[in-house]
Amino acid sequence: MRRQVTVTVADSHVAQIDELAQALRDAGMEVDGILRAIGVITGSLPAEQQLGSIESLPGVAAVEEQKTFRLAPPDADVQ
């Protein structure tokens, strides 16, 4: 089961987001989304690959595991 991650691009590298996406692929990440307006790259790593392996690449401000957000079911009292 792959690990879904978000990579926050540093302000300094937002203009070179495509190059950074390639560097991430070279480091083993499967890139699903390049979000240019917010400077974030989304994708996944093999389960055994540590976040640290991509965290230290130049231009990476942060790497986080993706969270799942959930709403209460529609008949719940509170939404």
């Binding site: 879904q4 978000t6 926050t8 699903d32 989304g33 979000l35 240019r36 307006a37 917010i38 400077g39 974030v40 989304t42 994708g43 401000a61 942060a62 986080e64 993706q66 969270k67 799942t68 957000f69 959930r70 709403l71 209460a72 079911p73 529609p74 009292d77 509170v78 939404q79």
Partner: protein, 436 residues
Amino acid sequence: MATGGPPPDPQTTGRSVVVFSDAVRGDGTAIAEALRSLAEITTVVRTSEIDGGALSGEHVANAEALVFDALGLAVVAREPGELSDSLARMNASDGPILTIEPERVMHAIKIPEPEPPEPEPEPEPPEPEPEPSEPEPEPSEPEQEPGFADDEAFTWGLRATAVDATTATGEGIKIAVLDTGIDLSHPDFEGRTITSQSFVEGATTVADGQGHGTHCAGTSAGPAEPGEGRRYGVATAAALFVGKVLDDNGAGVDAGILAGIDWAITNGCHVISMSLGANDPAVSTTYETVGRRALEAGCLIVAAAGNNADRESGDLGFVGVPANSPSIMAIAALDSRLRVASFSAASNPVEGGSIDVAAPGVDVYSTWRMPQRYDTISGTSMATPHVAGLAALWSQTAGATGQALWTKLTEAARSLELPATDVGAGLAQAPPPASD
């Protein structure tokens, strides 16, 4: 000092506060001259000449004039009425005095009494009287607010936020609602231009199979005249962008939510409404960076504070991701008597984890997916699109975006006698009607 005039207002002391212009502030000679001209005062006590600038109570009570050098003010033992002629003469040409006000008496702001416990129920009367047919009236509680209610024309929430009186419509402003989508077949949205995109794997359209997204879209931008029933929408003429980032079970992942935010910003949206969250108190670098970049791009993100409180049991909950980002507004929920909803999360100590503002979030009526058409539900999810719609109204009337729009909303909020940790700046309000 009998003057024969009306007795002083009991909330003032009979003295005056004199505010000096920036030009003379700190200039002892100029100030002394001004006070001599103004009221023939020669005995002056100056904070700059006292150790630590600390005036004693005696100083405060007895000086003819107390000069606060750092502030450029003086308190003068004369009533404002006695000074007005001198002031007029001195200020004939750019005088040293900006204004003179009566010295006020201030009071500690009263902390509301906690609600008294419910009175014990009356013991059964011994006589075998027939039971009354109507239920017993509720024991009266001390009410802080008269309370609002849904009526034929408006939801209670639109009344409480002064949307019922505003002339603003949100025209020209783009609101993005990122949620479970919207029921595009809903009659109330017929003819409304809606730009939509799904970011949920497996969902090719924004069709809302849950209802939550339709409800939020309705609150933020529902029509001025719904096909039936009362109005429930804040920014009736705003351009609506609907991003489906939650599946029909109400679940979503960062990738989809972030893609939705990116899409909204790329499309020039002024406001993004996110009635979603995760119970994680720690700030996410990703969402904080995204919130910051959104503000820089002129886009304000508002997010639900969270429903993880159970205040009746003493659990205050906490603001989670993404509302806890410093650059994202966290919205709390109020009921129709302007009390904090039991489920509404309180401020979280992390920086950014503060509640920013509150809005109606209990028993909120809005659109639901067809065929049900409408529903009345509760949550910080319902408070959030109120604020998104209000942001659109303010963006239209004040021309503000991003951080400036945030400030507009908090400044315009109605203060409540409730802690800021629960309600931030207070109950968000619509712009006052334009006076044409």
